[in-house]
Amino acid sequence: MSYLVGVRLRITVAALSLIILCAAGTSSMWRVTAQNQGVRAPNGVERLTANAPAPRANAPDRGATFRWLEERAIRVTTTFTDAIATTERIAGGDLRTRLTDAAGRELGEFDVDRVAVGSDVLTFKKDGQQVLRAGGRAGSPPSLDWSNRQAYAMWKDKADDPSKPLEWQADLIRARGSAVLDFHRDTLSMKTEWAEGFAAVAGRSAGQRPHPASGAPSHGTTFESRLLRDNIEVGRSRWYPEEQIYVWSVPGLTKGYLDAERMKDLGGWTFTPDLAWTNVQTYAFHYFHTLIATQGFVADAKPATRPWLDRIADAFAPTVYANEAGCDGFHWLDYTIFRPCCDAHDRCYEKYGCSWRSWWEPWSSWRCTGCNIGVTICITSLYPPFSPAYP
C-alpha cells in the first residue's frame, strides 16, 4: 500500500514539475524589469535602474492591430512647444530620431538599434558626441512616437551632463529627479506618415467648442486628426478628453462615434487616447474599411513576427487578418478565416446595442439573438452570416 502511495506521489510530483517547466519554457517571459545602474561607458551598453513600473497607458496596451499599423508607419514628426522631433524607420527596423529647434538647428540624435525583440540598444548623441548607450526596457517595444518623446526628454533633462544619473521612469529614460513632462500639454502637433502617400496630422486645441454630443456651446480640449492622401483629406477624427467621446468620419467608408455608454460593454477606455493614437486610429478606419469595401472583410496582411508556436498552430488554419475588435476571448481566431464571423458579430452588436447578456436573455432582443445565431452558424460551418439581423 505504502509502495502504491509512493508511486502516486512520484507521478504527481513529476507531472507538476512538467507543467511548470513547459509553461515556463513557452514564452520569452521572466523578463528583466529592473536593470542595474552602471557607469556611462563610451561603448558599453548600460543597464539603467527602473524606479517605476512601465505605465499602463502605453502602446502595447492598445492591441496587436494598433502595433501592426504603427509599425507600418515610416515617419513620425512631433512638434513640441520648444523643439521638433522626427523619427524615421530605417533599414532593419531600426529607428533614427533627429531633434531640432524651430529654426532647424540640431539639438540631438537618438537611435534605436533593434538587435532582437526585447533587446534594443538605445543611443543618444548631442553635438555628435555619444551621451548614452543603454539597453531598452523589456516589454516596451519602441514606437516612432515613443522615440520622439524619448529624444525630447533626454534633451530637456540635459542628459549630456555626466553628473546626472539616468534611470527608467515609466517608459522613458529620464535624469533622476527631473520634473515630470506633460506630453499632452507640450505636444503641439504630430504627423504620422505611411507608404502610398498617406499621412495623418493631429493637433491639440483648447477653448470654446460645441459639445460633441449636444452641440451646445462648451469649453474643453480637442484632439483632431486629419488623414491625407497625396495631401488631399480623406478622413478625420476627434477625441474629446473631457467628455470621453471619440468621433470619426471617413467619407464613403465609415462614420460614427464612441461614448462612455457604447464603451461600457467593451470594458471602457483601457488607455488614454493621445495624438499618436488618433492618427493611427484614423488611418485604421480608412485602411480596414477600404479592405472591407473592396475585398469583403479579408486581407492577407498580418503581423510579420509572431511566436513560433503560433506559426505552428497557423498550419491548421489559413491566416487572415482583418479589422475591428476581433474575437473576444478567442483572439487566436483573429488570425484565421473565422475572423470575418467575429467582425460581423461585433458590428451586429454595435448596431443593435447588444451585450454578452443577450446570449442567455434571448427574449430581450430578437435582433441580438439573430446576431448570436449568425455567429454560431458562421463559426461552426464557415457559412457567411445569413441572419436578417446582420447589418
Binding site: I19, A23, G267, T270, A313, D328, H331, I379
Partner: protein, 133 residues
C-alpha cells in the same frame, strides 16, 4: 470507495491543472493590467496558449488516470474535463465574459478535452489493447 468518490481526484486534477496553467500563462505574458479574456495571457488568444493548455491537460490527465485508475479511461477523462470545465466557466465569468462567451467555453472544452483524451490514452494504453484469450 464509492463510484462518486473515485472521480474526485480526476475532477480536482482537472480544475487545478486548468487554473494553474491559466495562471501561469497570465504571469508569463508580463501584462500588468487586470487579466481578462482579451488579455494576451488568456489561453485561447494565442496558438501558444492553446498548445500549452492542451499539453498540460494531456500530461496531468495521463498522470491522474494512471495514479487513480477509474475503470475505463472514459470515466477518468470525463471527470477530468468536468473539473477543468468548472474552472474554465468560473474563469470566464470572473474575468468578464466577452461577446462570444458560449463559443469561448465550447472551444476551451474542446482544447482541454482533446488534450486530456490524448493524455488519458497515453496513461492507460493497456485499455486500448484487445483482451487476449
Amino acid at each position: 470507495m464509492s463510484r462518486a468518490t473515485q472521480s474526485v481526484p480526476h475532477v480536482l486534477a482537472g480544475a487545478v491543472a486548468f487554473a494553474t496553467a491559466q495562471a501561469v500563462l497570465f504571469l508569463v505574458t508580463g501584462d500588468t493590467r487586470r487579466p481578462t479574456v482579451d488579455s494576451p495571457g488568456w489561453f485561447l488568444n494565442s496558438g501558444q496558449g492553446i498548445l500549452v493548455m492542451a499539453f498540460v491537460a494531456a500530461a496531468v490527465c495521463g498522470a491522474t488516470v494512471r495514479a487513480w485508475p477509474a475503470g475505463t479511461i472514459w470515466k477518468g477523462w470525463l471527470a477530468f474535463v468536468a473539473g477543468a470545465g468548472v474552472a474554465l466557466v468560473t474563469s470566464v465569468f470572473a474575468l468578464g465574459p466577452g461577446t462570444l462567451f458560449p463559443i469561448v467555453i465550447a472551444a476551451g472544452l474542446v482544447v482541454v478535452g482533446v488534450g486530456a483524451l490524448a493524455g488519458a490514452a497515453a496513461g492507460r494504453p493497456e485499455l486500448f489493447r484487445r483482451p487476449t484469450r
